[in-house]
């Protein structure tokens, strides 16, 4: 810890010295959680992370694989590129559009001080969330996105995070702040990529404000995250009549932890969170969801699915909290896992905590194999067993991919899924 202390003293503190310091003090108290901590029961993150950390951003060369990937991308309207947590303006596309601000967080600290002061670090609880506190203390840069009142942005905004392992202990801290004002709407696609052949570790935090009657749609892609130890924390605050959608797709990992929280603070707000993981080898994918119903008349929907091969491990913990005032809440959660290998394992904990009486909350969890009846149907139609399995698995997983709003992105993910399943259609 003394080493972390030294590193903390060495980093550039301004602006928000106080925010960083408070977070650092909180982290010092919490430390890295062990598996004795209830929220980390099935993921011994302490054992997985390197023993020492380097938080200093790695000023690394843009390597071939990053260049090749960027040039292969279609001409999207908006794009931000980060390499090891450092913003790459030369590779980014940020058109000047009225009512939309896209900038690096560093830039926003000085250019949009008022907005930052009002929103930055306000949705996370440093005293409870180990890695969010760590991130707040050490963060270098990230994306700042602000959409003004009643501005609708139709094209998705792509945020590409590339990681190339520099020093082995590098623990990159990235951070987003997204603010959609009243009546605004945007789509985001966060894409995390390991651009090296060896292991990388990062810790990413997003804070998302969905204003009254606004709509925010976030797609989180972890499809090229081989050898990655990635910790994701997303905290969304959803106001009156607003809608928040989030879909996370994970294909590869060493260890990936996805924390997502949606806090419904205004009447008639809606949150829809979904996720799919397709785990192979020894991948360990842990999803923790919290839907916090604070205001009455809100609805929430969760759909989480996992396909497990080889020695992969999947974890799902979904909480629904209904606070005493949140009458007329309607909350639904479904989590399903398909175990395709005898060595794969799943731990699931769907959790309801309800303090209001006029509510409808339900959850369903199922862990099992492909239905024998479905398989029989396919076989009886002359489809070979292997292909039938692939088709049924594809159908199982596709329900989540379908939730991605952007059509080209959805198509891309469907192709990735087919590729992963070795399925030719």
């Amino acid at each position: 810890m003394s080493d972390i202390q030294q590193q903390f003293e060495a980093i550039e503190h301004t602006p928000f010295r106080q925010v960083r310091e408070d977070a650092f003090r909180a982290f010092e108290k919490l430390g890295i959680p062990s598996s004795r901590h209830e929220e980390w029961k099935y993921t011994n993150i302490k054992a997985k992370l390197s023993k020492e950390f380097t938080f200093t951003p790695q000023e690394s060369e843009v390597n071939k694989s990053v260049k090749a990937y960027i040039s292969s991308l279609p001409a999207y309207a908006f794009r931000m590129v980060f390499l090891n947590g450092v913003f790459q303006s030369s590779m980014s596309i940020i058109p000047d559009l009225k009512g939309l601000t896209i900038s690096s967080l560093k830039e926003a600290f000085s250019a949009h001080q008022e907005l930052i002061e009002k929103h930055y670090g306000k949705l996370i609880d440093n005293n409870e969330e180990h890695f969010a506190a760590l991130n707040t203390a050490f963060v270098n840069d990230g994306a700042f996105i602000h959409v003004s009142r009643n501005v609708n942005i139709e094209e998705p905004i792509f945020l590409h995070y590339f990681f190339t392992a520099g020093e082995a202990e590098a623990f990159t801290q990235t951070r987003n702040l997204v603010i959609a004002e009243e009546g605004a709407s945007i789509q985001l696609a966060e894409d995390f990529r390991n651009a090296s052949n060896i292991g990388v570790q990062y810790n990413h935090v997003s804070e998302v404000y969905v204003g009254k009657n606004a709509q925010v749609n976030v797609a989180k892609l972890q499809t090229e995250t081989k050898n990655v130890i990635g910790i994701h924390t997303m905290e969304a605050q959803v106001d009156t009549d607003a809608r928040f959608y989030s879909t996370t797709i994970t294909f590869e990992a060493n260890v990936i932890r996805n924390n997502a929280t949606a806090r419904l603070v205004g009447r008639n707000a809606h949150a829809d969170l979904s996720g799919l993981y397709f785990a192979k080898d020894t991948a360990h994918i842990d999803t923790h969801i919290l839907i916090d119903h604070v205001a009455p008349d809100c609805t929430s929907h969760q759909l989480y699915k996992g396909v497990l091969n080889d020695q992969a491990t999947g974890i799902f913990n979904g909480k629904i909290f209904v606070k005493p005032d949140a009458q007329k809440t309607n909350a639904f959660q479904s989590s399903k896992a398909l175990l395709l290998s005898p060595e794969a394992s799943v731990n699931s904990k769907p959790q309801l905590e309800i303090f209001a009486d006029d509510v409808k909350c339900s959850h369903g969890a199922a862990i099992g194999q492909l239905s024998a009846v479905d398989m029989f149907y396919m076989l009886s139609r002359g489809i070979p067993e292997e292909q039938a399995k692939q088709l049924l698995t594809y159908a199982f997983a596709h329900e989540v991919v379908e939730k991605i709003q952007s059509k080209p992105l959805r198509q891309h993910l469907c192709d990735k899924l087919k590729e992963a399943l070795n399925l030719q259609l």
Binding site: E38, P324, Q327, A337, L339, L340, S341, P342, E343, A344, S345, V346, N347, S348, K349, P350, Q351, L352, E353, I354, F355, A356, D357, D358, V359, K360, C361, S362, H363, G364, A365, A366, I367, G368, Q369
Partner: protein
């Protein structure tokens, strides 16, 4: 709504019906817990040396343990030095029949609404009646003996059947299993012991009625039931306790073992004093119940109706070790006023083709908190294990809480695990339908709640089902959300 509130108010203000104290001379251990207390209890029970050693080991383990804090219930820390660990009625001469027992105790029984004589005659229930830790009288012993069934107090079993006790006591719930199990192992005063020999189907429901009687005595019951190959037994446990102001601790341990093709059905109706309307007093019910399906094709079924206690904290569990074994858990937990319940089950699948089924119905009213906490664990070798879990919560009133904490851990790809949970209040359409048919709001709620719990109540033996239905009605009169 106003009318409903009035009825709710009416019910909530209704007092505990079974609050009375029986005045019998009692013999107490000195207050507090030391090694001497353990020795005192062991000496009082005239236990052999090995049993005292067993207790002392448990006591040593307990001293090193910390009170668990993870549960979703809140209570002031218990001072374990402020409890009397042993209260037995003064030794009297051995009783031959029920007519010989203290008229005051018989009166107590009658107040509970369970006329012993009638039960004896009509229901054919052998009652091992426990008044504060000491077995008073055991009926039907003779007719059970004919079949080779052993049904006696655990202290008697320690003296008479040391081989069985040595082999099985602590085999399912080890002494250092958890804080309260260790405490129980050190200081348990009495309880029941049942052994069903090979191929015997127990001809009657075995039953024990517990009463916590003396003030400031924790009740530490120990129950051990062994069903040998191809046998069957149904065991009933029902409880009521008199009204007290101080919180009383009840930390029982129940162990069940089934051999090949054997089945144990264990039913509980628990209606201990829940504390008053302000949440003062009431029993702390911290119980460890666990069954081991050791043999192939064996079955253990837990059914519980929990309406009493200030705090209920227990997880009757099944370890499904034998191939093709079956575990079942049916539960209704009702909380009202300031009651707290954190209850559920654990199904540990170890053997092949093991199956388990969990049906839990929670009902919260007043300012109470009701939690379901369960674990379904499928181990790597448990081929084709199957579990179905349903846990529903019903909320009556806007100040209560319902929580579910299901843990599902699957390490075998041939396993099939299904879990469903819902939380809701009684639908206005259902109430409207009943009202329209001329039922009062109260009758309607009763009917709906009974229907809601039917799947669980159906699993109770007949006499219990009737009592449980009455209890539900008493517990929830007019609680319309």
């Amino acid at each position: 709504m106003a009318e409903n509130d009035a009825i709710l108010e009416d019910h909530i203000s209704s007092d505990y019906k079974y609050g009375f104290t029986t005045n019998i001379e009692q013999e107490f251990a000195a207050i507090g817990l030391t090694e001497d207390t353990v020795r005192f209890i062991s000496a009082k029970k005239e236990e052999p040396e090995w049993m005292l050693d067993w207790r002392l080991k448990a006591f040593a383990a307990w001293q090193k343990m910390k009170q668990p804090k993870w549960q979703n219930v809140h209570f002031p820390e218990i001072n374990f030095q402020d409890i009397i660990y042993y209260a037995a009625q003064k030794k009297k001469k051995k009783l031959e029949s029920l007519d010989d027992i203290d008229p005051e105790i018989r009166d107590t029984y009658n107040k509970l609404g369970i006329p012993i004589q009638e039960q004896k005659l009509l229901a054919g229930v052998a009652v091992d009646y426990v008044m504060d830790s000491e077995s008073v009288v055991t009926t039907f012993r003779e007719s059970l003996k004919e079949k080779g069934i052993i049904f006696c107090s655990i202290s008697e079993a320690i003296r008479e059947y040391p081989d069985l006790i040595k082999q099985y006591l602590g085999s399912v719930v080890p002494t250092r299993d958890n804080y309260y199990a260790a405490l129980n192992s050190a200081v348990f005063s009495d309880g029941s012991f049942v052994y069903i020999p090979k191929g015997v189907r127990c001809p009657m429901e075995l039953s024990t009625y517990f009463r916590i009687n003396a003030e400031n005595t924790g009740q530490f019951e120990r129950t051990l039931i062994i069903a040998d190959d191809n046998s069957y037994v149904s065991y009933l446990e029902g409880c009521t306790a008199p009204m007290r102001d101080e919180n009383q601790l009840h930390a029982a341990v129940v162990e069940l073992v089934t051999m090949d093709n054997a089945e144990i059905k264990y039913s509980t109706v628990q209606n201990w004093y829940p504390g008053d309307k302000q949440g003062k007093g009431g029993i702390y019910n911290f119980v460890t119940k666990r069954g081991l399906c050791q043999g192939i094709n064996s079955k253990i079924s837990w059914t519980q109706v929990e309406t009493g206690s200030a705090i209920t904290w227990k997880y009757p569990s099944c370890i499904l070790k034998g191939d093709n074994s079956i575990g079942e858990f049916y539960s209704v937990a009702v909380t009202n006023n300031y009651q707290q319940a954190d209850t559920g089950t654990k199904m540990i699948h170890i053997g092949k083709n093991t199956r388990s089924r969990i049906v839990s119905k929670g009902i919260s009213a007043g300012k109470s908190q009701n939690s379901y906490r369960g674990l379904v664990q499928v181990n790597g070798n448990a081929e084709k294990a199957y579990n179905f879990t349903q846990c529903d919560s019903l909320l009556l009133g806007d100040k209560c809480g319902a929580h579910t904490f299901p843990y599902i851990e699957v390490k075998n790809s041939t396993a099939q695990v299904e879990h469903e949970a819902t939380t809701s209040k009684i639908g206005e359409d259902l109430l409207f339908y009943c009202n329209q048919r001329g039922l009062t709001a109260e009758e309607a709620v009763n009917m709906i709640v009974n229907g809601y719990c039917k799947e669980v109540l159906n699993n109770l033996p007949m006499e219990f089902a009737i009592e449980a239905q009455k209890l539900l009605s008493i517990s929830l009169e007019g609680s319309v959300g």
